[in-house]
């Protein structure tokens, strides 16, 4: 960092008329926004060099949540990796499960049945709504609008209730499996979800009315945290942050996977690349996700929820207890893990934050040889020092919020 101790003139020095009018000398100050900080979303350490309130340099120190995801995954079976992937982007965990399952299915050359695809899409979009609600609530809280947190948490809790009925867990769902999903919808679940979506759309609407035309929010977020389209692409931004800068890249439209090519939805694209646009992207995407879920319920047909290939998918229980082949297949899959053919594959999904990619390498055994994660939040965090150059310290807070750095995926 710069050593200005012998520089007596302040950085915005104008020639002084007389010594009595000369401004006071100032030095740059190093402030440590430490790893345990309410606005640092968990665990990022930012060392900020300040001149008054203006940031003149920022250094990010990460690694305070590194949990050894990749090394752990090399030591467990392919199916046991699913709970670990849940905890990558923990606010929208089904998308991580789906991404990983797609990478393994690419390696195994496995086709999954229709109903499994629809279920994956429905649960992914529900979790996308949860992620955006969390972001908007946290942004509201940190800008001072605590009511927004309460409404957002209530809406999120309602959606989590529905997901608990389906997956068993609110947050870390462990729902997708190689070859499909783990269980089917309970009776009456579709109607309940539609009612929940109505209710959470109402609450999202209330949040919208509280924040979007709010003078304070606009003053703090419009024009702050700007990144240009070219810079955003150069840094590898994806997702709502890239779309806020004007680049309409969405994996669901660019290379459609699962059933996204049959669904009718739009991708919001912003213009300025500032915090306000990023916030608006998320509000609009919640509405689009709502649309997607409703269409899926209309289009979905009854059927199998997992492929019937016994090498990769557990056979149904009547077969396991009734036939020898079923029992043997079940035993082999559980004890040795599914034997994925050797090779490497990269599969990506459009997670709530951007393009979430999984790079899986298999050596033919029951455990991954390597599993790499392309975390979308990483690129945004990398660009943060450049974004914040010349801005005020108070602008760091909404920027950190809208960039949506989730510690779990950035630090794997």
């Amino acid at each position: 960092m710069a050593k200005d101790s012998d520089n007596l003139l302040p950085v915005h020095a104008a020639p002084a008329e007389s010594p009595l009018d000369a401004p006071f000398p100032s030095k740059r100050m190093l402030v440590n926004l430490g790893p345990s900080h309410p606005a640092m979303h968990g665990t990022v350490r930012a060392v900020v060099e300040l001149d008054g309130e203006t940031i003149h340099g920022m250094k990010l120190d990460i690694g305070f949540l590194h949990r050894g995801f990749e090394k752990t995954c090399e030591n467990v079976t392919w199916t046991q990796v699913f709970p670990y992937t849940d905890r990558l982007n923990y606010v929208s965990s089904i998308m991580n499960n789906v991404g990983y399952a797609m990478a393994v299915e690419k390696l195994c050359d496995l086709e999954i049945p229709e109903r499994a695809r629809y279920l994956r899409v429905i649960t992914s979009e529900l979790h996308r709504i949860c992620d955006h609600l969390t972001l908007v609530s946290a942004m509201g809280l940190e800008l001072g609008a605590m009511t927004v947190l309460i409404y957002g948490m209530e809406a999120r809790d309602l959606i989590w209730d529905r997901l608990t009925e389906l997956c068993g867990a609110r947050l870390t769902s462990n729902y997708a499996r190689v070859g499909g999903v783990s269980r089917d919808m309970p009776d009456g679940w579709a109607e309940k979800v539609l009612r929940t979506l109505d209710r959470s759309a109402e609450m999202a609407d209330e949040i919208d009315r509280l924040l979007t035309r709010n003078r304070i929010v606009i003053d703090r977020t419009r024009g702050t945290g700007v990144i240009s389209r070219a810079d955003a692409i150069d840094y590898g931004f994806t997702g709502p942050c890239l779309r806020a800068s004007g680049e309409p890249y969405d994996v669901r439209k660019a290379s459609p996977y699962l059933v996204y090519d049959r669904l009718d939805f739009e991708i919001p694209v912003g213009t300025n690349g500032d915090n306000f646009d990023r916030y608006l992207m998320r509000m609009e995407e919640m509405k689009q996700s709502d649309r997607i879920v409703r269409q899926c319920f209309e289009q979905m047909q009854p059927g199998a929820i997992a492929s019937d290939d016994a090498r990769f998918v557990l056979p149904p229980k009547p077969e396991v207890y009734g036939t020898i082949e079923g029992a043997m297949a079940h035993f082999k899959i559980i004890m040795e893990g599914i034997q994925v053919p050797p090779g490497e594959a990269y599969a990506c999904v459009e997670a709530a934050n951007g393009e979430l990619g999984f790079y899986a390498v298999s050596d033919g055994g029951g455990r991954p040889y390597k599993l790499g994660v392309r975390a979308p939040g990483w690129n945004m965090l990398m660009a943060l020092p450049q974004i914040m150059e010349g801005h005020m310290l108070a602008d760091l807070i909404p920027t950190f919020d809208t960039v949506n750095m989730i510690g779990g995926e950035v630090e794997q």
């Binding site: 305070f64 949540l65 948490m153 870390t172």
Partner: protein, 181 residues
């Protein structure tokens, strides 16, 4: 077994004469215990996924405010309940210890989630196997992440414990200061 006596609990039932409280002392202890348990100022040391459940616990449905533990104090000097929410890894450990050491007595520690209690299912080079390896813990709340009802159960258990602990208006002798560094 290590001999860190500050890691052991104060026994709930006094078996030695010098630990026994007089009638007035007992009333004071119960009164102070009542006051302290219903006015917990938490320091949510949030790191990972359990933070989402913490937000849900603090919100309107599973209200933490009705237990008096609503207001988070983001400075360790002002807090008396350190809730370690989420995984603590080896890099974060010194910071956790520093925050714990900065807190003033009386203080309590809640290990929220299995990662804080025992490392969770991350048994690898980066994760510390439970925060009780460096700081004493009063209540462990298991779950990955724990359901909010489980968290509230843990808070109620902690409140019970605080009530049963021995509180005095003045400390007779100073407790041993933790070693520096």
């Amino acid at each position: 077994m290590s001999t860190n006596s500050d890691l052991d609990l104060v026994p709930a039932i006094a078996t030695r004469r010098e630990d026994a409280l007089s009638g007035l002392g007992k009333m004071v202890s119960q009164g102070l215990g009542w006051a302290r348990k219903y006015s917990l100022f938490q320091y949510p040391f949030v790191t990972a996924c359990c933070g989402m459940e913490f937000m849900a616990v603090a919100a309107a449905r599973y209200d933490l405010d009705r237990f008096g533990a609503a207001l988070p104090r983001f400075s360790p000097r002002q807090a008396d309940l350190l809730m370690v929410v989420g995984t603590i890894n080896v890099k974060q450990a010194p910071i956790l210890k520093r925050v714990y050491d900065s807190m003033a007595d009386p203080k309590w520690v809640v290990a929220f989630g299995v990662c804080a209690s025992s490392g969770g299912f991350y048994d690898n080079y980066a994760t510390m196997q439970g925060i009780d390896r460096i700081i004493p813990v009063d209540v462990y709340i298991p779950g990955c992440p724990p359901r909010p009802e489980q968290v509230l159960d843990g808070i109620i258990m902690l409140q019970q414990k605080i009530q049963d602990q021995r509180h005095q208006l003045t400390e007779g002798k100073q407790p041993a200061l933790p070693a520096k560094g």
